[in-house]
Amino acid sequence: MQVYLPIAEMSVDALLLVGIGFAVGWLSGLFGVGGGFLLTPVLILIGIPSPVAVASGANQTLGASVSGLIAQWRRGNVDARMGTVLLAGGFAGSVAGVQLFALLRRIGQVDLAVSLFYVVVLGTVGALMVMESVRAILRRRTATRRKLHEHFWMHGLPLKIRFRKSRLYISVIPPALIGFGIGVLSAVMGVGGGFMLVPAMIYLLGMPTGVVIGTSLFQVVFVAANVTLLQAVQLGSVDLLLTMLLLLGGVAGAQFGAAMGTRLRGEETRALLGLMVLAVAISLLWGLLRTPANLYSSGPAL
């Protein structure tokens, strides 16, 4: 069934979009991330223009994360204070990121920037996750205990605040900076940033795993909302119909994925997610390296 997307100005198979939404939703439910990092490249692959794919991807991530956030909030797994600090940085970051995106679009390097960001960020995060989880799986056999978290220079910074839910007493500067970085990335890549935020909170901030997913969803929902709003106002590239079709499949897929995720062990899940992230990075890198079929491309003059 073909459907005409009013902002992308093209006709796409609606069932294909619902199917993509379902598959990405299933994976994101399984791994507890928004799934934007998979969605945006897939949308670009099926021919949606990059700006529309990035903006609509952010909008879809928002919808997909809301249901997760509601569930986590009910269980009391959200550190709202930490979330607010991350969010303050995230808002500033997404404003800066949308400016960067508008600039890239003017000089005609959106496709390159999006691909490069994906290759670098996903490659790094994916490799780290795989390495960490493999080490964790091996450690499980030897069963040595680790310290709760280590103290280093970061803990000497000023503006310390007590985060009760996270059982932390640290400066607000590191979480705000992390939030800012995620905000920039989410604007340029059309992702919520959950897949980067979760490891950052565990390894950099030393937050307990229980509140990490909920708090990251808290930040993702609001940053994605901000990115959607900014992209819509500044670039007019959010396609509502595209978002809704993706969400139709995504919301259902996320529930199935979450149900299956409870049956997998933490380390195995993280290793799988890491491998998937790496696979996306490698396929995008290949796209940059190989000789393009057509050297020329055209776009509307801005």
Binding site: V3, E9, M10, L62, I70, V233, V251, T291, Y296, S298
Partner: protein, 285 residues
């Protein structure tokens, strides 16, 4: 209306002023006799111009029409087909009259970029050429290809054929960019040259069906039907149609365009609502 008026005005005023000054000059400078003859010539010309349409109306060498004057782009739009048909006074076909049909869509500025290898490793967008007025849709069809029917200069003057389109570019100047525009637009199905010939029925009737792909830009389209006799254009008929978004597609695009803030808030709220409804639906079941 607003589109036509600026185009019509300078034309009329230019013609008027040049006429007046020409007459005025000749009257003042030359003797009375030549002045009277000049005025007489002008009167004769005016009479001819006035009489010409009436004479054409009696003969009518060419009549043409479109299957539709509006193409509606709804959310289910997958493209459309436009039928151009008509009849001529003299028989069409080999040795007789020939028909050319040209459809031009609204123009837009276009940037063409060429990928270059950066650092000897990755492909990035390099030099770019900017084309000011590129038709978003262009289709030409004829009883025979235009280059067989008309002399080269007439074809170039009237922009008949993809290689005769006036594409003016700024920026990178390599000829490859113009060729790339042709290639990309043809590949997207938005530019067509002799996709299907104009069919002749009963020697005086002609028709051709032109496909409008799903990606056709919205706006005003012009259709020109030309009657060619012994390598000259002897009659032309101009028509127009519009491509407009309708229904949901139109409402979404209009709000996104005119009230982006409202649209952004709407997108955020609807996505959040979809996520919330989803979580409720699946928790119950």
């Amino acid at each position: 209306m607003s589109l036509r008026r600026p185009a019509g005005l300078p034309c009329r005023s230019a013609a008027g002023s040049s006429c007046r000054s020409a007459v005025g000059l000749s009257c003042r400078s030359a003797a009375g006799l030549s002045c009277r003859s000049a005025a007489g010539l002008l009167a004769l010309l005016a009479l001819l111009v006035l009489a010409a349409p009436r004479a054409l109306a009696q003969e009518v060498p060419l009549v043409a029409a479109l299957s539709q004057t509006a193409v509606e782009v709804s959310t289910g739009f997958t493209g459309a087909a436009l039928m151009v048909f008509g009849s001529t006074e003299a028989p069409i076909g080999p040795g007789g009259d020939e028909i050319l049909v040209v459809v031009r869509g609204p123009t837009r500025p276009l940037v063409v970029r060429r990928k270059v290898k950066a650092l000897g490793l990755i492909w990035v967008n390099g030099p770019a050429a900017r084309f000011a007025q590129v038709p978003g849709f262009y289709a030409i069809a004829g009883t025979r290809p235009a280059w067989q029917l008309l002399p080269e200069e007439v074809r170039q003057q009237n922009g008949l054929g993809l290689d005769a389109l006036p594409l003016v570019s700024t920026g990178a100047r390599a000829p490859g960019f113009r060729a790339a525009v042709l290639e990309l637009e043809t590949a997207s199905g938005l530019w067509l040259e002799d996709a299907a010939p104009v069919e002749i029925g009963g020697s005086r009737l002609f028709h051709v069906q032109l496909p409008l792909p799903a990606a056709v830009p919205t706006g005003e389209y012009r259709v020109e039907v030309l009657l060619v006799r012994s390598r000259r254009i002897v009659a032309r008929e101009e028509m127009g149609f519009r491509v407009d978004r309708v229904g949901t597609a139109d409402r979404i695009a209009t709000i996104a365009d005119t009230r982006p803030l409202v649209y952004g808030v709407l997108c955020v709220l609807l996505a959040a609502l979809a996520g919330w409804v989803g979580s409720i639906l699946f928790r119950r079941s």
